[in-house]
């Protein structure tokens, strides 16, 4: 167990340089507040990021960190995690970094189940390049690169992660620190690749993108909190619930109309990701009731552990490394 620390111990001496009012501040505060509670050491913690506003994150943590190149943070972090299973490795990425230029690495990191905590800041816009649509921007989005509206169909990060068979998939948002901290804690404690999408407001280039679900008065009816083992209910008095239709799709119903027994009980540990996927499709965008919390948390051997297990097994089987014997492992002959 590490020496007790405070949030201050986890904050670097670098000035935080996001735009005033950016949602990133809240996420940074949540993670800096969480770290002392995790009982981990700064020296054993590594934050790896790609490129984009969110990717400046490692500079503000008093840990080891690398601000790498665009989209490649999951690949860099894989090298860290596999070579050093003793480290606690976090990946900080965004919707452009992790889903566009680095989409490939994210998919493969999730399917391999590399022991990483991946936090994806989704603000549905390119901020650092001053406001172009991203792979999560809605169709019709007017930006500098789409003056007539975007014609790109967006994808849903949660559906994507579930499709890649990620073992831990969750969603939280930048205005609820408590929810963020609890979600990040769960993600950190998960062995394997943990993927967390954070709805994050870019107040400069995409202000209010999540206003329809995250405004204080909207949240009760627009956020669907997922709790393992509990019926999926929301609304100020829990009057709404998620039900399975005969055709297999999920729908929202008034609990009074359908009866409590029909309300779906959330099971994040289901091996089959189908139901979690259906939950991820419940909202077509952040203007319909949207599930938040842990969609899926299942156990599967993580890549680094398996790689290192093979190394150990090879050492046990073949004994101490003998370079001389290696050089003589083919046919040899002696002259003179």
């Amino acid at each position: 167990m590490a020496q007790p620390t405070t949030r201050k111990d986890w904050s670097s001496d670098q000035e935080v340089r996001w735009c005033p009012g950016c949602g990133d501040y809240g996420i940074l505060a949540a993670i800096q507040s969480l770290m002392p509670e995790l009982g981990v050491k700064r020296a054993n913690t590594v934050f790896v990021s790609g490129i984009g506003c969110s990717s400046r994150f490692p500079y503000y943590m008093a840990t080891y960190g690398m601000h790498s190149i665009h989209g490649r943070a999951p690949a860099v972090a894989t090298g860290v995690a596999v070579s050093r299973p003793d480290l606690d490795v976090w990946v900080i990425t965004g919707d452009g970094d992790g889903l566009s230029i680095g989409g490939n690495h994210l998919l493969h990191t999730l399917r391999r189940n590399v022991n990483l905590t991946i936090i994806l800041f989704n603000n549905q816009i390119y901020g650092l390049t001053k406001g172009q649509y991203s792979p999560t921007s809605e169709v019709g989005k007017v930006t500098k690169s789409t003056p007539f509206g975007s014609v790109d169909h967006p994808y849903n990060p949660i559906s994507l992660a579930l499709g890649a068979e990620a073992t831990f998939v969750a969603r939280t948002h930048d205005v609820d620190r408590k929810h963020m901290i609890e979600t990040f804690r769960r993600a950190h404690d998960h062995r394997g690749a943990a993927f967390v999408e954070v709805f994050q407001n870019c107040n400069v280039f995409n202000d209010g993108a999540f206003e329809q679900i995250l405004a204080r008065d909207k949240r009760p009816n627009m956020l669907i909190p997922l709790h393992h083992g509990q019926p999926i209910r929301f609304g100020a008095d829990g009057e709404l619930g998620v039900v399975a239709e005969p055709d297999g799709t999920l729908a929202i119903a008034r609990v009074d109309d359908v009866g409590t027994e029909r309300v779906l009980v959330h099971d994040e540990s289901r091996d089959d990701p189908g139901l979690a996927f259906a939950l991820s499709r419940l909202a077509r965008g952040p203007y319909e009731p949207t599930p938040i919390g842990v969609f899926r948390a299942v156990e599967r051997p993580d890549y680094g552990t398996e790689v290192n297990r093979q190394l150990l097994a090879a050492s046990e089987r073949r004994g101490p490394a003998d370079l001389g014997a290696l050089l003589r492992s083919g046919t040899t002959w002696t002259v003179g």
Binding site: K41, S68, V80, L87, L326, L327
Partner: protein
């Protein structure tokens, strides 16, 4: 089944002595020609010959059988004296079908020997190879000595006792051919028979079939009396010691393992399969007990990025690739330059651009390694010159990477990768100690500055995660000199850019001087790098044998160059640079030293023939 097998006939016929012979085995890519050539090579190596090999196979795994596109060949030069190349022109061509004959005949030495499988010369076989008439009967083979042997039918008959179906039995015909040629050149058959025994131990029928086919081929040579006589190539006068026959890619993998042992670092290889580099991934993956982690990444970029992550964490980060992969890794290599972390990039060059010629050799990535990144991003470059030299040079590349905290390029190529040569095994205890110390405490008062440099090497400290008190953040954004904090200050960027350049340039003080094989009165210097070494050295020998004077130097360090290279070049009125590209090293030499270096270029997917270089040297002398 031993009692059903004919014994090997081992009469001692009159054999004619040869000082060397070049044999090319050619057949369909499904005929097992690489294996046949490899086995012949191995038995020659154990016999004590000097040798060099040149495998030449198509990119397609199974091109349509019997077509020119599907021809796979393996050339070996065996000799009783020092061998520098696989030979300019084969003395003997073993052709398993008409396509093999057609695509290789032009290379065969005049008055050389053709041994062909006459069972494969039916009308359809001829048509597939594009022959309008049977070359055996229309004068096409005039001037060569031709031995026609019905190899397929003789093999099927020989293998009959195993009960194998004819279709399966036929597959042993490469061993029949190997038997014939082994008899013809008096190779010790036991080396091959022992190998068959262990290689096919788990497949009894195949083992038996191959053994029977080999013996039948050998006995055919002995009894058929179609050959006037056998030949012998005596053992070479090699330096005493223990030898093994090794390819460049195997030497590279073993050299990496040695570098890991000698540096005390675990190895992390991030790689994506690509010809002709993949064998290094295969080989390293077998040796996990040496602390080797190999990751087959989702793409070339992930391969190098994972290696960078491992390097950040204190491992020996390595990525292996070929041309297209180098293009993809460029941005990450720039990051490694900026992070100033040790990283090894093994580029096994092949024909380009784009997909180019995946299985053919070329040296056309030198300028890419030198300049192929945006911004000022210098990376040291080294190049081995023979297959076994890959072992030495990969250790040297690791030494530079670790000492100077920099990515290092090692440029091998398809010819070195797949070619083999006998290698005098080094004493592992005497390999260089390339150990490195991680930072373990503050270096600036009570603070740790990740970019505070060693005044001698300009290398920055390597502080790895897990070390309390040295927590720091690095990245691709320009860093403040010393602290490593983000800095957009113009003067600082100028300083940092020059520091990174000076660090790489300073490696010149730490590498060997140019080794010149000089000759009194030489006015021409032949300067080479990489795999052209053998061809150049052979050409230089031939020129000298003609009574002419010529000097040779071969660079193993291409960035930076040896510190005396400029002075060496200026000693010679003429400098010729043979290279398998359109003039990369020659451009670098001209730019760096204002010397009128002339490129001798070849991009035919094949190494230079010694004669091609010999002619150019003689012309330059006259």
């Amino acid at each position: 089944m031993t009692d059903t097998e004919p014994a090997l006939i081992r009469e001692e016929p009159a054999r004619r002595a040869l000082d060397s012979v070049v044999i090319r085995f050619a057949g369909d890519s499904g005929d097992g020609m690489q294996l046949t050539g490899d086995r012949f090579t191995q038995s020659s190596a154990v016999f004590g010959n000097e040798l060099a090999t040149l495998p030449d196979f198509p990119a397609e795994i199974r091109a349509p059988a019997g077509t020119l596109a599907g021809v796979s060949a393996f050339q070996v030069n065996i000799s009783d004296h020092r061998v520098l190349t696989p030979g300019d022109a084969p003395d003997v061509l073993v052709a398993m079908n008409p396509a093999a004959l057609r695509s290789n005949l032009a290379d065969l030495r005049r008055a050389g020997t053709v041994v062909l499988n006459s069972d494969a010369f039916g009308e359809r076989d001829l048509a597939k190879a594009g022959y309008a008439a049977d070359p055996r009967h229309d004068g096409s083979l005039d001037g060569w000595t031709v031995y026609e042997i019905p190899m397929t039918s003789l093999t099927v008959r020989a293998v009959a006792p195993t009960g194998a179906k004819p279709r399966d039995a036929e597959r042993s015909k490469n061993f029949f051919a190997l038997g014939v040629i082994s008899w013809l050149y008096d190779r010790p058959p036991d080396t091959i028979l022992d190998w068959i025994e262990s290689r096919f131990a788990s497949r009894e029928t195949v083992l038996e079939a191959n053994r029977l086919a080999f013996r039948a081929g050998w006995n055919f040579g002995e009894t058929a009396e179609i050959f006037e006589s056998g030949y012998e190539v005596r053992a070479a006068d090699l330096v005493p010691g223990e030898y093994t026959n090794i390819s460049g890619n195997t030497a590279m993998a073993w050299g990496l393992i040695a570098a890991g042992q000698r540096s005390g670092l675990p190895i992390f290889l991030g790689a994506y399969p690509i010809t002709p580099a993949t064998d290094i991934l295969h080989e390293l993956s077998k040796h996990k007990h040496f602390g080797v982690r190999t990751m087959q990444a989702e793409d070339e970029i992930a391969g190098v990025c994972a290696a960078i992550g491992a390097a950040f964490s204190g491992h020996l980060g390595v990525t292996t690739t070929s041309g297209p992969g180098i293009d993809l890794k460029s941005e990450a290599l720039g990051l490694a330059v900026s992070l100033e972390l040790p990283l090894l990039v093994l580029d096994i060059q092949r024909g380009g651009p784009s997909t180019g010629l995946p299985t053919k050799t070329e040296q056309s990535d030198l300028l890419s390694a030198m300049y192929g990144r945006h911004g000022e991003a210098p990376i040291p470059i080294v190049a081995p010159r023979t297959p076994s030299h890959c072992f030495t040079m990969v250790i040297e590349a690791v030494r530079i990477a670790l000492k100077y905290r920099t990515p290092v390029f090692l440029l091998s190529d398809g010819y070195l990768a797949n070619g083999t040569e006998p290698w005098l095994l080094p004493d592992v205890e005497r390999l260089p100690d390339i150990g490195v110390a991680f930072a373990d405490g503050p270096n600036h008062g009570s603070e740790f500055w990740p970019y505070l440099r060693d005044p001698e090497t300009l290398a920055r400290p390597w502080a790895i995660p897990g070390t309390p008190g040295l927590e720091h953040r690095i990245g691709g954004i320009e860093k403040e000199d010393g602290t490593g904090n983000i800095s957009y200050d113009p003067a600082n960027h100028d300083t940092m850019t020059r520091l990174r350049a000076a660090k790489v340039a300073g490696i010149a003080k730490d590498i060997p001087l140019t080794e010149v094989d000089d000759q009194d009165g030489a006015e021409v210097l032949v300067l080479g790098w990489g795999s052209t070494y053998g061809s150049i050295a052979a050409a230089v020998q031939r020129v000298r044998a003609r009574g002419l004077a010529v000097a040779q130097a071969h660079l193993t360090h291409l960035n930076p160059f040896p510190p005396d290279l400029g002075a060496v070049l200026r000693r010679y009125p003429k400098v010729i640079v043979p290279e398998m590209n359109l003039g990369h090293l020659s451009r670098m030499i001209r730019a760096e030293y204002l010397v009128d270096a002339r490129a001798l270029t070849k991009v035919a997917g094949q190494p230079f023939r010694a004669a091609e270089i010999e002619d150019a040297i003689v012309e330059a002398i006259r």
